[in-house]
Amino acid sequence: MTTDSERLKWSLGRATTIGLNTFREAVRMKLFLAMTALAVCALASSFLFREFNFGSSELKFIADFGFGGMTVFGSALAVIVTAQLFYGEIEHRTAYTLLAKPLYRSEFVLGKFFGAWATVLCFMAMLALCLVFALWWRETSIMAEFPEEFVNGRRIVRYGDILGFAALQSIRIGILCAVVILFSTYATSALFSMVLGMLVWIVGQLQHVAVEAWATVDSLILKGIYALASFALPNFHLFDVGERLALGEALPGSLYGKLILYGALYGSFYLAIACISFNRREF
């Protein structure tokens, strides 16, 4: 009965508008203030190691510390911030006015995802810059103190790889944001999606252990359950490359490619289910 011009088209523009507004909410909720405080604390604590003075191995220590901080704080924030920004709209009934507008619910889901992800990415960028700054500063003074440890006076920290590490963690965080969005689409409280999000984070982190156990199990049913779980849940261990970097190994370009593809597949898988689930939700 409608003419073609009256058919609403799916619009990336509307999704972007919602995403930008989500980001603005994060800014105005003073989330960034809290995150900056966190980053500054992390930086300050890495300066504590100045006291040790154990030459270039101190740099490895700081790098390890920074990588761990990025992963842990980043993942925790991804869960909390996404639940707050997505479920918050349902909880405060602001979604209600929005969804009565001519827009697709999937535009809302995607907008919220990108807004929440961008928020956590800003934090990651901040942490990465802090880490680079701390390493550079320490490396400069260690170079002056122990010149014999630096061949031809060249720096040994590969700063490009630190940014690479941050980029890989951003993919992990994107997957986690998508998972929390999925839970939020049928949650009845923000806490529910936070707890389940944390659970996926932990299980995803330990999944490779389960995969080893799987090899020793005989029961076909158990094997099936393991297979299903390892398919449905992301393997976050794949992103734990900090160890290799700290040992001075370079990451091959193909690893970046693989992990980007992995993240894109899992992210779109969860977001697709989230859209279906959100379409069925009643307000």
Partner: protein, 282 residues
């Protein structure tokens, strides 16, 4: 003529959480709202008005039956292209200013930038928030939220406006302003669906009303039809002496008619129906 809103044979059941029982919020309801009509949906609390509106907007799916807006099924987003909605006790993004909120919704409605700025100023003035437009919505009073809610419903210049209790929490001056906005909309050819408890107001703006009770439509018609039913039409005697008035009354009584001194108001009718509903058919 195409219907602006059509609800046919709609029933909505809610599961009571944690038990196997159901509540029937809307019971086999049929409503047709014509274009360029101001339609009032009345009924006591919990009679299913808001649930009906949510189904019409596709925010909820009916358990049975169908809803459509301008002939398009309510569960497709295209149905909402020409609709503006003010929810009951609305709540908006607290971190935005009134102006930013309208800009956000205008952007979602696909309005172009130069068009938006002018339209937002006009809307803020229309709802009486020109001085509060640059303050955060988080600091708005209940009545101000209703006003900004009305402005956001109007931002896309919709053909159909659905207002759920628009005057709740608004001062009497504001309520009169909202009534006048509704009359202007009608003169511009728009359609309005209005839920309200303030019956005197509904009476003054609505072309037709329906009264709901326990999810059912109890009555529907124009205000005149409802308040001047064929057996309760009244006669007004102007400039009559008390003697003449008495003899007319006596004559009427002799013929078996009741003589009422005033016209039955919509409020009387509402109270009667509400009492009838309480008495229960079950």
């Amino acid at each position: 003529m195409k219907l602006a809103l059509s609800i046919s044979g709609v029933t909505k059941d809610f599961r009571i959480p944690g038990s196997k029982r159901w509540v029937r919020a809307v019971d086999n309801l049929t409503l047709s709202i014509r274009e360029n009509e101001v339609y009032g949906l009345l009924g006591p609390n919990g009679s299913g008005k808001s649930t009906t509106i949510k189904m019409a907007l596709g925010l909820m799916k009916p358990s049975v039956g169908e809803c459509s807006l301008f002939g398009v099924a309510s569960d497709t987003p295209s149905a909402r292209l020409n609709v503006g909605f003010l929810p009951e006790a609305p709540y908006f993004q607290r971190f935005l200013t009134g102006r930013e909120l309208l800009r956000y919704f205008a952007k979602l409605a696909g309005l172009s930038r130069p068009e938006t700025a002018k339209r937002i100023d006009a809307l803020l003035e229309k709802v009486g928030l020109e001085d509060a437009g640059d303050r955060r919505v988080g600091g708005y009073s209940k009545g101000m939220l209703q006003r900004i809610g009305l402005a956001q419903a109007l931002v896309g210049d919709p053909k159909l406006l659905i207002l759920d209790e628009p005057t709740a929490g608004v001062d009497p001056v504001g309520a009169a302003e909202i009534a006048s906005i509704i009359r202007t909309l009608k003169s511009e050819g728009k359609t309005v669906l209005l839920c309200s408890h303030l019956l005197s107001q509904v009476e003054s703006v609505c072309d037709r009303v329906a009264i709901m009770g326990r999810g059912k439509r109890l009555l529907e018609g124009s205000i005149d039809e409802l308040t001047l039913g064929t057996d309760s039409s009244s006669l007004q005697l102007d400039g009559a002496s008390p003697e003449l008035r008495e003899s007319v009354a006596a004559l009427a009584a002799a013929e078996g008619a009741r003589v009422a001194t005033r016209r039955r108001s919509l409020e009387d009718l509402f109270l009667e129906l509400a009492k009838g509903g309480e008495g229960g058919d079950d």
